[in-house]
């Protein structure tokens, strides 16, 4: 600090704490709500302090059924979410690594064209082309399948650009040394390129995992069979129950469970997360 003004430092801390409190407020409310029985919610009334039905609610939604018209337990939907999130994450990382590798380390006709085709995917987020994409997936008979959940989402210009950037920063001499050492393209890819891109891959993994886990509209459209329900989209189905019968405690518990994994990833891998965010905006 340039000058020492204790009251300013104090004000800074106070503001930050206030900000953190405001940001955490909805989660606090949800946590409290999930510890009361469904009957505690009513017109003009919502509990503001913890009740004693927490264990029961959480146990029910986790292991029996999420309720509100969704008969599957949360753990099962979590599994689906995990499959989808990991499928999208691995898929994106693998195909982006491969295509960035092709674009940076090989010369072939139409290289620029390929680059532009990949770039175009930036301009076509799924929300924008939702109806025709649904039709394409329906035509391919991929509704209600893990393939349908993941495959349409795994083309990623961002990841390809990120890896391209990362590969371009690898000194040319390293590639030459590897060639003199007798490493062909695959050996180079696995022995040199992948280990050198480790942190980038990990950082991207964090970002993509969050992206995959939080998919909402797409699974909502293409899954009608509850064997493929993912946790985030099930909330929507739980909310479509007629107003009066909503079991708020269960919805809140499910909501908290649905946000727990990605939030844990962000907090647990904060460094990688920040790196991933900053990198993918370059």
């Amino acid at each position: 600090m340039i000058e020492n003004r204790p009251w300013l430092t104090f004000a800074s801390h106070a503001t930050l704490l206030l900000g953190i409190g405001l940001v955490a407020l909805p989660v606090w409310m949800a946590l409290v709500a999930s510890t009361h029985p469904a009957s505690a919610f009513g017109v003009g009334h919502i509990p503001l302090w913890f009740g004693d039905a927490g264990a029961e609610t959480w146990g029910t939604v986790l292991f029996e059924e999420a309720g509100n018209g969704v008969d599957t337990p949360v753990w099962f939907m979590m599994l689906n979410s995990l499959i989808m999130a990991l499928g999208i994450t691995f898929g994106k990382i693998v195909i982006s690594l491969l295509s960035a590798y092709a674009i940076v380390f090989f010369r072939f006709p139409c290289r620029n064209l390929c680059f532009w085709i990949i770039f175009m995917t930036l301009m076509l987020p799924v929300e924008v082309r939702i109806v025709p994409t649904y039709e394409v997936v329906a035509n391919l008979d991929l509704l209600n399948s893990y393939t349908g959940l993941t495959l349409p989402l795994i083309a990623s210009a961002t990841a390809t650009f990120l890896f391209r950037q990362c590969f371009l920063s690898i000194p040319g001499e390293l590639v030459e040394a590897a060639r003199i050492d007798g490493a062909g393209p695959w050996r180079f890819f696995f022995d040199i390129l992948l280990p050198l891109s480790r942190t980038n891959i990990a950082a991207l993994f964090v970002i993509l995992f969050i992206y995959g886990w939080n998919q909402y509209l797409w699974p909502l459209l293409i899954t009608t069979d509850d064997a493929y329900y993912t946790l985030v989209m099930s909330i929507k189905r739980m909310l479509s129950v007629t107003d009066g019968d909503i079991a708020w405690n269960q919805i809140m518990a499910t909501t908290l469970l649905a946000m727990l994994p990605p939030v844990a990833v962000v907090i647990g891998m904060q460094k990688l997360f920040v790196k991933g965010l900053v990198d993918s905006e370059k």
Binding site: P171, E173, L174, E176, A177, A178, R179, I180, D181, G182, A183, R187, D191, I192, P195, L196, R198
Partner: protein, 355 residues
């Protein structure tokens, strides 16, 4: 036995730039050849064509009689040491040295043996488990050499391997490289822009200028009989004094007032040269010309005197004189010099060839 032959080897880059018009060179087995020249003259290009990292546009490269133009770098049985070492940052020193052997499918115990032999030779045994970033510059340099040596290749290629080291370490490594090469007897092609490095290391030197080999020869050949003014200026420090002159019946006419007597059948514009260390201090009676002193650099063991040849007209030619031991002449005073004819170098101004 001739080991490496470059026959009319030329390089034109895809963008149309002709970096090397045509170079002929044959290297004997065990010879230490240094490619030297100013930055951008095409040294790396030539070396990389030998390595197989750049395609050869024209001509042919043969190693031990076998045409190499179409061969992959790994098939040429060469090893290269890069300027920035190009060590694999995620591998230990051991793995860096072993990588090329592993890729060739050599048995594990044999690899271990070779790596530990080379490590011993280079004093790297203690460092085998470290990562490159935990090493000093000199140690990295050694690992890069070790990586080249374990493979026991036919040819070593070096691209300015010492230019990232500080001056003292550079001298030390220079000596070490020369000793190792002698001991191993491996044919070596070494690129540098530093003429001192070139002179001290080379069996033979190739002086490159704008992609052309100006002269190929032993360091003493090049010092004593430079083929062109470019080589004359490039080899030796401080550079040879080179002065535009005219060869007439009377001799070398440097200016209206100054002609150094010489009988030579050539006539016309020439470049006259003499090395700073070959000029001798004299007096008004015996001297060939006088120098108006402009600056004196005392280095202890020797003294460099910068000045201009004194003439009636305003601007005489600049000259440097190198005297051994300390001297302290006054700036602006006159110093009479003789230029012994046996040390003259004459070049045709038009063809730039030695007369």
């Amino acid at each position: 036995m001739t080991d490496v032959i470059l026959e009319k080897v030329g390089k034109t880059y895809p963008n149309g730039y002709q970096a090397i018009p045509s170079v002929d060179l044959s290297i004997e087995e065990g010879e230490f050849i240094v490619l030297v020249g100013p930055s951008g003259c095409g040294k790396s290009t030539l070396l990389r064509m030998v390595a197989g990292l750049e395609s050869i546009s024209t001509g042919e490269l043969r190693i031990r009689g076998e045409r190499m133009n179409e061969k992959e770098p790994a098939e040429r049985d060469i090893a290269m040491v890069f300027q920035n070492y190009a060590l694999y940052p995620h591998m230990s020193v051991y793995d860096n040295m072993a990588y090329g052997l592993k890729n060739r499918g050599i048995a594990k115990n044999l690899i271990e043996e070779k790596v530990s032999d080379v490590a011993k030779m280079l004093g790297l045994t203690e460092l085998l488990q470290r990562k490159p970033r935990q090493l000093s510059g000199g140690q990295r340099q050694r690992v890069a050499m070790g990586r080249a040596m374990v493979r026991d290749p036919k040819v070593f290629l070096f691209d300015e391997p010492l230019s990232n080291l500080d001056a003292k370490l550079r001298v030390q490594m220079r000596v070490e490289i020369r000793q190792l090469q002698r001991k191993l007897g491996t044919t070596t092609l070494y690129v540098t822009h530093d003429q001192v490095e070139a002179m001290t290391l080379a069996d033979r030197l190739v002086v490159l200028n704008k992609g052309k080999a100006e002269q190929i020869g032993t360091p003493m050949d090049l010092y004593n009989k430079p083929a062109t003014p470019f080589v004359a200026a490039f080899i030796g420090s401080p550079s040879m004094n080179l002065i535009d002159a005219t060869l007439t019946e009377q001799g070398v006419k440097i200016s209206e007032a100054l002609t150094l007597p010489l009988s030579h059948q050539h006539r016309g514009d020439i470049v006259w040269g003499i090395r700073p260390e070959h000029l001798e201090v004299s007096d008004e009676q015996n001297g060939d010309f006088a120098l108006r002193i402009q600056a004196v650099e005392s280095l202890g063991a020797e003294t460099l005197i910068h000045g201009k040849i004194e003439t009636e007209s305003a601007n005489g030619e600049s000259m440097v004189v190198r005297l051994s031991g300390p001297h302290l002449p006054d700036v602006n005073s006159l110093m009479w010099l003789t230029a012994p004819m046996s040390h003259w170098h004459l070049f045709d101004a038009k063809t730039q060839q030695r007369l």
